[in-house]
C-alpha cells in the first residue's frame, strides 16, 4: 500500500478497536495501579463506537472519516483520554484535508498535527508519563521514515510507540491522575501510553498487506 486510503483508515480503526477490546482488562489493570481503573472501559466504549460508525456509514474522504472518529471519541469516551484521542483525530482530519488518500508524507504531517493537538489540549510535556511519551516517538519515527513506503514507516512508528510505552514505567507522573500519586507512580507503565502503542500497532497492521 503506497498511500493510506479511506478503506485502509477504516481498517486501522477497526483493528484498533479489536486490539483495545483484547487488551481492555490489561489497560484497566494499568489504570488501577496508578489511576482510577477506567481506561480499558473508556477506550473500548469509544473506539468500538467509532469503528461501528465507520462500518455503518463509510466515509470516502479521509477528513470526513477521521472527523467522524474524533467526534465519536469525544462524545463517547469522556475522562482525559476522550478529549485527547478525539483531538488527535480531529487535527489529523483537518491536516489531511478533503482527500481520498494520503501518501506517507501527507500522513506524517497529519500525525504531527494530531500530536501537537494532544500536547496543546493536555498541556503535558514529554516525560510527564502520559500518552505523549508513546505518541511523540511514534510520530517522529514515522516522519523519519516517511521517505520510504507506508508500511515501513508505520511499522517503525509502532515499534517506537511500544518503546515509548515501556519507557514510561520508571517515570514519576506529572500530569493526569497518576501525578497525584507522586513517587508512587514510578514502576508502572502509563495506561494511555499503552493504548497509544496499540493505536500505532493497529496502523502498522492495517497498512502492512
Amino acid at each position: 500500500m503506497a498511500s493510506l486510503t479511506a478503506a485502509g483508515a477504516a481498517a486501522w480503526i477497526s483493528r484498533f478497536a479489536d486490539a483495545v477490546d483484547a487488551q481492555r482488562d490489561h489497560l484497566t489493570d494499568l489504570d488501577s495501579a496508578i489511576g482510577d481503573a477506567d481506561h480499558g472501559g473508556n477506550m473500548s466504549r469509544g473506539v468500538r463506537a467509532a469503528a461501528d460508525k465507520l462500518a455503518a456509514d463509510p466515509p470516502t474522504h479521509l477528513d470526513d472519516l477521521f472527523k467522524a472518529v474524533g467526534m465519536t471519541l469525544v462524545s463517547t469516551v469522556g475522562g482525559a483520554s476522550g478529549p485527547l484521542y478525539g483531538t488527535f483525530f480531529l487535527r489529523l482530519a483537518s491536516a489531511l484535508g478533503h482527500e481520498e488518500e494520503a501518501d506517507p508524507a501527507a500522513l506524517a504531517t497529519g500525525l504531527r498535527a494530531g500530536l501537537e493537538g494532544v500536547a496543546a489540549r493536555g498541556k503535558a510535556e514529554r516525560g510527564d508519563k502520559t500518552m505523549l511519551d508513546a505518541m511523540g516517538p511514534a510520530v517522529e519515527a514515522f516522519e523519519a521514515a516517511a521517505g520510504s513506503d507506508l508500511a515501513t514507516a508505520a511499522a517503525g512508528s509502532a515499534d517506537a510507540a511500544a518503546s515509548g510505552r515501556d519507557a514510561t514505567e520508571p517515570l514519576v507522573a506529572r500530569k493526569g491522575r497518576a501525578s497525584y500519586l507522586g513517587e508512587r507512580s514510578a514502576g508502572h507503565v502509563d495506561p494511555g501510553a499503552a493504548s497509544t502503542a496499540l493505536l500505532f500497532r493497529a496502523l502498522a497492521e492495517a497498512v502492512a498487506q
Binding site: 484497566t28 488501577s32 495501579a33 496508578i34 489511576g35 482510577d36 481503573a37 477506567d38 472501559g41 473508556n42 466504549r45 469525544v74 462524545s75 463517547t76 469516551v77 469522556g78 475522562g79 482525559a80 483520554s81 476522550g82 478529549p83 485527547l84 489540549r121 493536555g122 514519576v172 507522573a173 506529572r174 500530569k175 493526569g176 491522575r177 501525578s179 497525584y180 500519586l181 507522586g182 508512587r184
Partner: protein, 329 residues
C-alpha cells in the same frame, strides 16, 4: 464483587432510573444522562451546571434542585462527562443569564468542560474549578490539586447566590472565593470496586490504610499502619490547618463518608476532629456529617474545612431542596 446491580456495564443508566423515581426534585434526560430540576428556576437567573464521573453519589445529581444545581451531567463510573453532554445541559439549563460550570480539577473533567464551553455558542459560560485536596503536597509537579469535598459546599453556596438573583460575574466570583477557602483530606480503609472491573482497584492489607486518597478509588499518597480514630483525626486535621489558616473566620466543616463507612463511625470521627479544631482556635460555625461525595463502596472518610464569612454563612443557611441536602424547604 457483591453489589446490588444488574448489568455491570449499565449501572449509571440503571441508577438514574431509580433517582428519577425517588427524587421529586428532579427529572432525568436519560438519553444524555442529564439530571435537571423538575421545576426550572425563573428566567433571568444564573444557572449552575456541574457533573463528573458517577460513583460519587449524592454528588452531583443529588444536589440538583431549588437552591443548588440546575443540571448535573452523569459520566460513566469515575469518568468525566463528554463535551456534547455538558453543552446540552448548559443550553437547556440557561435561563438567559448565563451558566456557571462547576468543575472538579481533574484533567478529564477540565478538558471536557472546556470543550463544552467552546460548544456552548451564544450561552455565556463562566467556570469555577475546585482544587481543595491538600494531599497533593507539591502541586506544581501535578495537574494541580484534586477537587473534592469543597465542591459540595460550593454548589450549595453558589446555588443560593444564583437563587437570590446575582449576576453571572457575581456568582462566579463568589464561587471562586469559596473554592479558594476550602481544603480537604481523605483517608481510606478499603478500596472500592468499579462494577465493570469486578475487583477492588487496589489491595489494602487488614492492618494498613491509605492517606491522601481522592474520590476515584485511586491509591493515596502513602500507606500507613491502621490507626485508632484519635490518630486518624490528627492525620486529617493537621495537613489542612498547615495549608490554610482557618482561624479568625467562621468555618464550615464537613466530615464525609466515602460510601461504605457507617454513620456511627463518621459521628465518632467528628467527635475526635472537633476538639482538635477547638484547640487550634478554629471556630466551626456549621457542620455536615454524612455521605456527600463518595467513592463507590470505599470505606473511608474525608474532612473538608471552608473558611467562610457572614455572607457565605447566610447563603449556606438559605433554603435548599435537593435529594441529598435539604433544609428550610
Amino acid at each position: 464483587m457483591k453489589k446490588f446491580i444488574g448489568d455491570p456495564q449499565h449501572v449509571v443508566r440503571d441508577a438514574l432510573v431509580g433517582l428519577e423515581k425517588s427524587a421529586e426534585q428532579v427529572r432525568v434526560d436519560h438519553e444524555h444522562r442529564i439530571v435537571y430540576r423538575a421545576h426550572p428556576k425563573p428566567e433571568g437567573r444564573v444557572a449552575l451546571v456541574s457533573g463528573g464521573g458517577s460513583g460519587h453519589e449524592p454528588l452531583h445529581a443529588g444536589f440538583v434542585g431549588e437552591g443548588m444545581l440546575d443540571a448535573a451531567c452523569a459520566g460513566e463510573m469515575f469518568t468525566s462527562p463528554t463535551p456534547d453532554q455538558v453543552a446540552e445541559a448548559t443550553a437547556t439549563a440557561d435561563r438567559g443569564a448565563g451558566v456557571l460550570h462547576i468543575v472538579k480539577n481533574y484533567t478529564g473533567d477540565v478538558m471536557n468542560f472546556e470543550m463544552a464551553a467552546e460548544l456552548a455558542g451564544s450561552v455565556r459560560v463562566e467556570t469555577v474549578v475546585t482544587e481543595d485536596d491538600v494531599a497533593v503536597e507539591d502541586s506544581t509537579f501535578t495537574a494541580g490539586r484534586r477537587g473534592v469535598g469543597v465542591t459540595v459546599l460550593l454548589e450549595k453556596i453558589a446555588g443560593a447566590a444564583a437563587e437570590e438573583g446575582h449576576d453571572l460575574d457575581a456568582v462566579a466570583a463568589l464561587a471562586r472565593r469559596v473554592a479558594a477557602g476550602g481544603r480537604s483530606l481523605g483517608i481510606a480503609l478499603t478500596s472500592g470496586t468499579v462494577p465493570s472491573v469486578g475487583k477492588p482497584t487496589f489491595d489494602l492489607p487488614d492492618d494498613e490504610m491509605e492517606v491522601g486518597i481522592g474520590i476515584h478509588g485511586e491509591p493515596g499518597r502513602r500507606r500507613v499502619p491502621l490507626a485508632p480514630a484519635p490518630e486518624v483525626a490528627r492525620m486529617l486535621v493537621e495537613p489542612i490547618l498547615d495549608d490554610l489558616d482557618m482561624t479568625g473566620a467562621p468555618v464550615i466543616a464537613m466530615l464525609n463518608g466515602m460510601g461504605a463507612t457507617p454513620l456511627i463511625e463518621l459521628q465518632l470521627m467528628y467527635g475526635e476532629v472537633a476538639p482538635l479544631l477547638e484547640r487550634a482556635g478554629v471556630t466551626v460555625a456549621r457542620t455536615l456529617v454524612g455521605n456527600y461525595i463518595t467513592s463507590l463502596d470505599m470505606a473511608g472518610c474525608s474532612l473538608t474545612l471552608l473558611r467562610a464569612d457572614d455572607e457565605i454563612l447566610r447563603l449556606w443557611d438559605a433554603p435548599v431542596n435537593t435529594a441529598g441536602l435539604r433544609w428550610g424547604a
